[in-house]
Amino acid sequence: MTSETFQPQDHLISILVRDEPRVLTRITALFGRRGYNIRSLSVGNTEHPGVSRMTIVVSGDRGVVEQAIKQLEKLHDVVRIIDHSLEKYVDREMVLVKVSLTPETRVEVRQIAEDFRSRIVDVGRHALTFEVTGDEGKITAFIEQMRPFGILETMRTGRVALTRGSNADIPTQVYSGDSAALTPAVEPREEKARGVPNLF
């Protein structure tokens, strides 16, 4: 369930950022300006108020990813970057797929959905909408299976990932919960630099 379906040029990183206005722009503008390609991006809150978490799939060779991480490290709003290629992780993506139905295909479509442990989230006279959660390979396989029946619409969330094991990426002692206290607590670069392939 981890990286076997990964395209070789894709790299999965997580970025913990201070929840400030325009921080998403800051991150994506950096990618745009430096010519790094984002394949997928998902953002959400974390258990710590004032901190959001992004999972980004970057395409490019190893050098591109290392440079992207080093440039991101310099942004003031970035608390930490986790390069998932350096440790074991779990990742998931969710997709909504609306498949067209005829009386002849109804049973087969439902059977495939069941095989994928997919949930039906909307039932229409001529279409069914499925929710599938899994790694990228499973989702791609599901879409391929449904394609012959006629896919009307899909929406993928982009991948989300967490490091395996009991370590939290944000050490709880760093946080007191209010974002003002964040600044001095995470200041040391060594702290931030964890996960960056270290040259020094």
């Binding site: 206005p21 325009r22 722009t25 800051r26 503008a29 950096l30 300006r33 050098g63 290392e66 440079q67 080093k70 440039q71 490290e73 310099k74 942004l75 003031h76 600044t183 200041e187 670069r189 630099a193 040259l199 020094f200």
Partner: protein, 584 residues
């Protein structure tokens, strides 16, 4: 706390604008450069209660920010500039980009429309934090008055710490006016400079010890470590190259100095890079104007790259030994246990290259620039604008100390030199602040002549090398566009620069040939006031040596004669360079 708005004023409670000045004053900021406008008026009103901070009214926000940069580059302290919203703020954009590329510590404060108007396309509204996002180290919109002093203090800390850079703080007008009752913060302690790891130092020393043809390259990140780096080079007996931004980090009078590398670098510097077996680069980012074609840069060398900014290491050139460290700390560590090794063949080779330096002997821009820079004292600050005169000054001036050479390196900003010289001159009123400009660049910010009069600035000496052309563009058109001189001729429309200066009450002098020049320089430098010297030179002189864009350093054209004989399309190298030039 119920502080007063300023000394002697008990009539009003402190507002956001007062808190801004109080915070700046607490940080030891004595001079700010700016231009008022509607959305920053509360700040200018509160200024009247803070006589300890001097505000310098420029004639254009671009003049204000370049002056702040000049201040910062001369002193190493943060430069501060202020502008109103919308057009005032957007006029800062060029200076912010300039400060970003040259790592200048800068605080830009902009007013903005009141919070309830933000996002409505209000009068003089511009999303300046959005606009400046890629050209600032960080930027802020102040959302609550209670946060204002903390944000300013943090902005100053970010601008100064690590690799310095510009930080912009945008303050809505209603926040400037809102009552403030909090504490005024004191400066943050400067963080400790990162030191190199002992095992990395050991490996670097091993490389230096085994090197037969070592060379050291110092960039703009080394200007505050000049004594330590000089000791390092002498201890190991390693020849030193200083980039355009690093000029002054190693004394030009030292026999180990090879000059500047890159597009208009010295023969010795570029050949040494091309032949070196170990290249120790410190505080530099391997700009394309320095490296030439990257896969032809230092092709035989193991590269040791020392930089504070991890993102610069490995960004452009392959690095054999990355060293993340402050320049001074690295210099100290590398010097310990240094071994002076005799490398007679390398030294002999370098002396031969150095002997190929051609000094301008005939009347022209180079001759004029040399005549001026030869008259400078080691303490004098020399600024330049951008173009041929800049490269000539960089080639011909001799720098014994750091922070005496101020120019726009990374962005190549025409119009930078003159206001920067004003800022530097105001920072150090006891020394001469000389600026060499071209007739093109000077006309981009010449309105700052008024600033000289207004503040009775007496130490700014402006030299205009007038060749009636946008000379550097003309040189490229000559070499790479078969002399199609497209839109570079200024001669018919240039003003009378002497009369222009006089119109601003600045004395003007002129020289048009080698005979007139010495007396004109005397009169200009000895004038008790700031003064302008126009030197009229022939139109079509080029700057050489030159590495064509897209060529490797070892493919440099050493003299003008060789450039003329090498027709642009005859060799594949120059053909490639022509293609590159068209793209550039």
């Amino acid at each position: 706390m119920g502080q007063s708005n300023g000394p002697g004023d008990s009539r009003r409670e402190m507002n956001g604008a007062g808190a801004l000045w109080a915070t700046l004053a607490n940080h030891g900021i004595t001079t700010v450069f700016g231009y008022p406008g509607g959305a920053i008026m509360p700040v200018y009103d509160a200024l009247t209660f803070y006589p300890e901070v001097r505000h310098v009214l420029a004639r254009h926000e671009q003049g204000a920010i370049h002056a702040a940069e000049g201040w910062a580059k001369a002193t190493g302290e943060i430069g501060v500039c202020i502008a109103t919203s919308g057009p005032g703020a957007t006029n800062l954009v060029t200076g912010l980009a300039d400060a970003m590329l040259d790592s200048v510590p800068l605080l830009a404060i902009t007013g903005n429309v009141a919070r309830h108007l933000m996002g409505t396309d209000a009068f003089q509204e511009a999303d300046i934090t959005g606009i400046t996002l890629p050209i600032t180290k960080h930027n802020y919109v102040v959302r609550e008055v209670s946060e204002l002093p903390r944000v300013i203090a943090e902005a100053i800390r970010i601008a100064r710490s690590g690799r310095p850079g510009p930080v912009l703080v945008d303050i809505p007008k209603d926040i400037q006016l809102a009552a403030f009752a909090g504490e005024i913060p004191v400066p943050h302690a400067r963080p400790e400079a990162p030191q190199p790891l002992p095992e990395v130092v050991a490996r670097a020393q091993e490389l230096l010890r085994s090197a037969q043809r070592p060379v050291m390259m110092l960039g703009g990140g080394t200007v505050d470590a000049a004594p330590e780096l000089t000791a390092l080079a002498r201890a190991w007996d390693i020849p030193v190259i200083t980039t355009l931004m690093g000029l002054g980090s190693f004394p030009s009078s030292d026999p180990l100095w090879l000059g500047m590398p890159g597009m208009h670098g010295s023969v010795a510097a570029n050949r040494a890079i091309s032949e070196a077996d170990v290249l120790l680069g410190i505080g530099l980012r391997f700009d394309d104007r320095v490296t030439g074609r990257v896969n032809g840069f230092a092709p035989k060398a193991s590269i040791i790259h020392v930089d504070l900014d991890a993102a610069e290491i490995g960004k452009i050139v392959r690095t054999h030994l990355p060293v993340r460290s402050d320049a001074r700390e690295a210099a100290l560590a590398l010097t310990e246990g240094a071994q002076k090794l005799e490398r007679p063949e390398w030294r002999a080779q370098i002396e031969e290259w150095k002997s190929r330096t051609v000094m301008p002997e005939h009347w022209g821009a180079g001759y004029a620039v040399k005549a001026v820079v030869d008259r400078l004292e080691p303490d004098d600050i020399l600024s330049s604008d951008v173009g041929q005169h800049q490269m000539l000054a960089a080639q011909l001036a001799r720098f014994e100390k750091p922070r005496r050479w101020i120019n726009s390196g990374g962005l190549g900003t025409m119009g930078f030199g003159f206001p920067a010289a004003i800022g530097a001159g105001m920072a150090e009123p006891g020394v001469r602040s000389v600026v060499i400009a071209g007739d093109g660049g000077f006309q981009m910010t010449l309105q700052e002549l008024a600033t000289l009069k207004m503040y009775d600035i007496r130490n700014v000496k402006i030299c205009i090398i007038n060749n009636s052309f946008l000379g550097m563009v003309r040189q490229w058109q000559e070499l790479f566009h078969e002399k199609r001189y497209s839109e570079v001729w200024l001669g018919d429309s240039n003003p009378d620069f002497v009369k222009l200066a006089e119109a601003y009450n600045v004395p003007g002098y002129r020289a048009s040939n080698a005979e007139e020049l010495p007396a004109a320089i005397d009169a200009w430098l000895n004038d008790p006031h700031s003064a302008l010297l126009e030197v009229v030179v022939p139109n079509e002189h080029g700057v050489f040596p030159m590495v064509p864009a897209g060529a490797a350093l070892y493919e440099m054209i050493e003299t003008e004669a060789k450039a003329v004989s090498a027709e642009p399309t005859t060799s594949p190298t120059t053909a490639a360079a022509t293609e590159e030039a068209k793209r550039a």
